[in-house]
Amino acid sequence: MRPEPQWIDYVVILIYFAFVLGIGYVLKKYMKTSADFFLSGRSIPAWITGLAFLSANLGAQEVIGMGASGAKYGIMTSNFYWIGAIPAMVFVGIFMMPFYYGSRARSVPEYLKLRFDEKTRGFNAISFAVMTVFSSGVSMYAMGKLLQLLLGWNFNGAILVSALIVLAYTFLGGLTSAIYNEVLQFFLIVIGFIPLVFLGLKDVEGWAGLKARLANEALVHTWKYMANASDNPMGVEWFGMIMGLGFVLSFGYWCTDFLVVQRAMAANSMTAARRTPLIAAFFKMFFPFLVILPGMIAGVVASSNLERASVQQSVVPGTPAQSSFYVGGRGIIPPKYDAEGQPLLRDGKVVLDYDLATPMMLVRFFPSGLLGVGLCALLASFMSGMAGNTTAFNTVWTYDIYQSYINKTASDRHYLWMGRFATVFGLGVSVVAAYVAKEFNNILDVLQLVFAFVNAPLFATFMLGMFWKRATGHGAFCGLLSGTAAAAIHHGLTLPRGSLPGLKGGYLGSVLHVYPSEMAQNFWTAIFAWCTCFLVTVIISLFSRPRVAEELRGLVYSETDQPEELGLQWYEKPAPLAAVVVALAVALNLIFW
């Protein structure tokens, strides 16, 4: 049941590619200094950086992954937004941006250098640089595989063409080009997915109809079944959810990941920088309806219309010949297939390929024409995720690694050239990583695990750095190392239910605790890492020499004057905006309780 895109769909996609390249080409003439290339000259208005802040994170893993989780866990998935992202985004805008933007640091690692010391910056810069390049490779691989499976496109071709397009526009236009294309992607996703949700909901007779068809109360509530981990499909209890996801993981990502923070740093003023995450949060909280809902609908929607269609459409090679929908699949979500083309079984149950939930919805509800727009939205999210990683990588590489350790005294022209070179190099390594992922799935799984360990404690370091002037460089560095180690040890001593020791944990010999699900294990690994980092940083800091308060102006809360907000309307000020965002998020939590 493969869709057959018509010429019109390809025309739509080609037009989109032309626009993307055109934006890069036109922006080329504005790239005169390295600050233009890496920071957009700090000249972009808040609404644009806000939408880019949102879209940079809205890569394919988000669009595909949230649809998959929606199909698997239902509306509970929106906890990733309503308790995860939103509070963290409000926090970074109100409390942290004054230090990021005000310190004039050009990157997150550079802030660590200003606040703490060289070794803390080095640790963060190198782990971040390696991480972005590899995660870009992983998402490239995911894209190639998806397009191959869904549309029969050539895996190599899909990867090379998209990498070349991203290369062209980030090479030419730097961060501005990436940001402009992210804004374009935002509108493409919104305009491309609204009709999908509309048609899907119409087909299942609205939210009430969807509830009735899902026939599982736990899939349509966010909090109601969270008292016990065993009552809800995620296998997480409320404390692990709030502390693990809501606090440690979300704050760690949204407040310290340079990929998103870089967008706010490009804003044209302090208030614009602070408004950036708030504007993003405002739109972000409605995204569950665009990206999670289609996944939920995919699990229940009838494929009767497809039955009629399948007569004209070819059958995916390697799948058992069948006229209508997949044997053993749920709704329009197909099962995973083994090498012989038979549905994959685990414990006697068919393993579903949830990642196909959202793409199958596009194919199911969009006729040729609109299908092209939907595919554009998907491609745009793949490419802007890649571009986001690339621009973050080339900045950290050029400023925090190359300029700091390799060549300190070159001309600005040279650093601009280095940024362009790093763009080519970073994307090249990503392409290699995509092929490594294709051949040896496990190597990248191990890498991603290590990255998760490095990331988990990070927020403790930033929180102490920004709000406790006594925190020292030695404390921060030891805290980060021990937090990372704590994550690895906790993961190595626990297992999710039903898994064997290995990549899923339990590799340190004995298993001390079995979690109800992998997600619960992840959340608790993060909690342990954060607490360890926090405690170690505090203890070592108290035993090491503090910095003079004078040196910490603009870097620590107590030593910094509050930014002034003269002559602004109330809706232009960060605090009232934050209040509106929080109120709306609380309302959404209550509505879908």
């Binding site: 626009f19 972009i44 402009y180 009709p195 219309n305 727009v373 003269l566 232009e572």
Partner: protein
């Protein structure tokens, strides 16, 4: 920095909208709508909405371009963007 982003956004969606409208008009009554989109000619209708959105964006960018010749920072720098800082933590 750069040009008004609303210009390319408006242009892209105008082109998409126009294209889909025409395609929707040509394929009126085709089985693709019965098969996929519950009998609705979504190409025509959503194409129309995209066209309106695109034209709206374009006219917004033209209006703003005329009113503010040095566009780009309507709220820019009413606030102090650099916090005072003493030496020791100097800019690299």
């Amino acid at each position: 920095m750069g040009f008004d982003i609303r210009m390319p956004i408006g242009a892209l969606f105008s082109v998409f909208g126009l294209l889909l409208c025409i395609y929707g008009a040509i394929t009126r009554g085709s089985t693709i709508y019965a098969v996929h989109s519950l009998g609705l000619n979504v190409n025509l209708w959503w194409g129309l909405i995209m066209l309106l959105f695109g034209v709206g964006m374009l006219s917004l960018s033209r209006l703003r371009g005329k009113r503010l010749p040095d566009k780009g920072r309507p709220n820019g720098d009413k606030t102090s963007s650099v916090l005072p800082r003493k030496k020791g933590a100097k800019q690299i």
